[in-house]
């Protein structure tokens, strides 16, 4: 099965468009829907295909069965998606994204939490990185709207989260059985657990089914209970927006003054280039393709790339790093029934070095300089029996014995640590390699800093304390030398008030180009340690408001 072929679709430009949105992931879908709802003429250009919903079970099977490369689940890779990773650390870009209607929400986990207040003031709070030019209060109403749009299941039981007025639109998923085992140990140590806000239906919502427990959320939810942005693409189309798939934007062209984008030039599968003109252009194609497109759009008015008078386009690339620890218990732990999380702890977010004290001990303090930590209690520790069976060299009774021996007693904790923005972590163009349209490919230069390493170590220290208290044996740790990226691309067109240091202003409009906005985690100034998509969605809704005002 390859990407759905809709070769007969009309991919010619619209005569008149108020807004051209580049990218049909969560940011682009929400911007398009919000503006179309208000009567604006919207055209969305998406590089990848539309995926048929009814093929999701087959994609899930590819994800479980070992014959199929992970990239084939959503048809990633090949000439279209070529890239270079020339930095100190290898970056597996194509595992970190999906191109198509719905974007990377097709393969995401679906955790949606608000940034903490401190994330907007990292310089003021910790003396590192920079402050955002907006704060939590500016985003607060948009966070609420984003939760309603996506259908977030959650509870207001997180004492460390920023304030909220409204309850979540859906009740939280109940804690798992293994959460109850962790809860006993955490109580003894004084570590607070709470629910996880999930963009996943705990009951029917928005004409989508409740979760039915396929257990394969990442990378495929066959039931559609997990939110993915194709939902808002369809809503936008119902409001009159046009979505052109398999239409990668090649470059943006400005007028003679260089102050306005005139058109987005895009290619179609028949090899023809088209120009989509629009009064306003919104880039929503992620933290790697946005800077790449700006750099590809260099001109005499913008010799270093469009909207790049600051030189910040592509710089300050940030990721969240995974920190984890797992082991086995002498009891059954009931893992791998579902593919999502039901408990986490933000206790060490704003005070990562704190000691804790419970009914029988505690986590020791650390006086190191640390960043925020988000801790997770996993529901899918250890092997999935079906995946293990498909890889095994044993059959029959031997296989069953092996599965029984391996499955059933694992526990694990995960966690996220956000790295600091550093100029040298960046996306550039690799002019020695080209994609299927002859454009230079993105080059990711990535490494992590000492503070981030220390924070991962601190997360491991807390995780080890909990596992030890739980009585886990065979404990193994994913620390700074084994960590990997969480596939969150942030920072590459940062927001700011100073045009010499940032790419977009607090209204998400580029400083240099009057009708060009960016809705993406690429505008993040710092990464925080929570999953970014709710903030992406909130920023997209804010961006739509500002675009609408200008129109």
């Amino acid at each position: 099965m390859t990407a759905e072929d809709a070769s007969d679709a009309d991919r010619t430009p619209s005569d008149r468009a108020d807004v051209c949105v580049v990218g049909a992931g969560p940011a682009g879908a929400l911007v398009a829907h919000r503006l179309a709802e208000r009567g604006r003429d919207v055209v969305v250009l998406e590089a990848g295909p539309r995926f048929e919903f009814e093929n999701r079970e087959e994609r899930m099977e590819r994800a479980i069965r070992p014959a199929h490369d992970e990239l084939t689940v959503w048809d990633m890779g090949g000439e279209r998606d070529r890239y270079t990773s020339s930095g100190e650390w290898y970056y597996p870009l194509n595992h970190a994204r999906v191109k198509g209607v719905g974007g990377s929400t097709l393969h995401w986990q679906g955790m949606v939490m608000r940034h903490h207040r401190s994330d907007f003031d990292r310089r003021t709070q910790d003396g590192v990185a920079a402050d955002w030019p907006i704060d939590y209060e500016d985003l607060r109403p948009y966070y609420g709207s984003a939760e309603t749009e996506m259908g977030v299941a959650g509870a207001s039981d997180n004492p460390f989260a920023p304030p909220r007025e409204e309850p979540y639109p859906l009740p939280a998923f109940e804690p798992s059985y293994s959460d109850s085992l962790f809860a006993e140990a955490c109580e003894r140590l004084g570590v607070t657990m709470h629910t996880v806000p999930n963009a996943r239906n705990s009951e029917g919502y928005d004409d989508r089914s409740a979760c039915v427990g396929y257990g394969t959320c990442k990378p495929v939810c066959p039931s559609g209970a997990k939110y993915s942005a194709d939902v808002h693409v369809e809503k936008a189309e119902a409001e009159g927006a046009r979505v052109i798939d398999r239409a990668p934007v090649q470059r943006l062209v400005t007028d003679e003054s260089g102050e306005r984008v005139e058109a987005a030039v895009y290619a179609t599968p028949d090899g023809v280039e088209h120009r989509q003109e629009a009064r306003e252009v919104v880039l929503a194609c992620g933290g790697v393709e946005i800077p790449r497109l700006l750099l590809l759009s260099e001109s005499s008015a913008h010799p270093d790339g469009l909207a790049n008078s600051s030189g910040a386009v592509g710089r300050y690339f940030m990721e969240h790093l995974f920190a984890g620890a797992g082991g086995v218990l002498d009891r059954e732990t009931r893992q791998n029934h579902v593919g999502f999380l039901t408990s986490e702890s933000h206790q060490f977010y704003d005070d990562p070095g704190q000691s804790t004290s419970g009914t029988d001990g505690g986590v020791p303090a650390s006086d190191a300089d640390l960043g925020p930590i988000k801790l997770e209690f996993l529901n899918y520790a250890g092997p999935s029996p079906v995946e293990m069976a498909l890889h095994s060299d044993d059959w029959g009774d031997e296989l069953l014995a092996q599965l029984r021996d391996s499955y059933g007693t694992h526990v694990a904790m995960g966690g996220l640590v956000g790295q600091l923005p550093r100029k040298e972590n960046r996306i550039t163009l690799d002019r020695s390699r080209t994609d299927d349209h002859g454009n230079p490919v993105p080059d990711i230069q990535w490494s992590i800093d000492a503070r981030t390493r220390r924070t991962i170590e601190r997360a491991n220290e807390i995780q080890r304390s909990v596992l030890e208290e739980l009585g886990a044996t065979d404990v193994s740790v994913i620390g700074p030398d084994r960590t990997g990226p969480a596939y969150h691309h942030m920072g590459t067109t940062r927001m700011g008030t100073d045009p010499t240091e940032s790419v977009v202003n607090p209204n998400l409009r580029t400083h240099d180009v009057r009708n060009l906005s960016i809705a993406s985690s690429s505008v993040f100034v710092t990464s925080g340690a929570v999953n970014p998509t709710l903030t992406i969605a909130a920023l997209a809704l804010k961006c739509a408001d500002h675009v609408d005002e200008r129109l």
Binding site: R56, E57, I64, F173, V212, G213, A389, D394, L400
Partner: protein
Amino acid sequence: MELTRRDALAALSGAGIVVGGTASALRRNPISFEEQSTSLPSGEEVMETLVAVADLVYPSAISNVREFVVGYAGTRMAERAAYRSGVRDAVADLDSYTAVHFDAERFAGLDASDRSVLLDQLGVRTADPSPEGTITQRVRYYLVNELLYALYASPTGGELVGIENPQGHPGGPTSYRQGPPE
């Protein structure tokens, strides 16, 4: 533990082949291929081969294998053209190999110990499955792994291991909250 038609249905609905269906949607008999071929196996022969492989790769605690395999693989062959041609070609190649290396015309005609020896000799145990690979890889993919997927993504297969809602099976969002059975 007996494999039921419900298991076959569950495995198929997990694969998106039977949606919202009932056990009556399952096949009770092997399919007949539309195109007759003297060189390729018939629907009945493909099914016999799958049952013969299941006899090796399924644990002895499982009963009612034939009905399960006919219901699962038969329906899958009827509904998914790529599987139908892939499994048929794999069985044809497996039978050719059998004819050359063993004193039998068909793999399904060998006794259990010869079947096991043959698959080991062919390297199927350690092969990387592939739908477009060598005969060994295709036997692993279309026969062995197809059957293992059907079993261990079904509630009965999962329960044998201790997980009543295995990955790939839409067994609802409640079992993860429950403790182990008393």
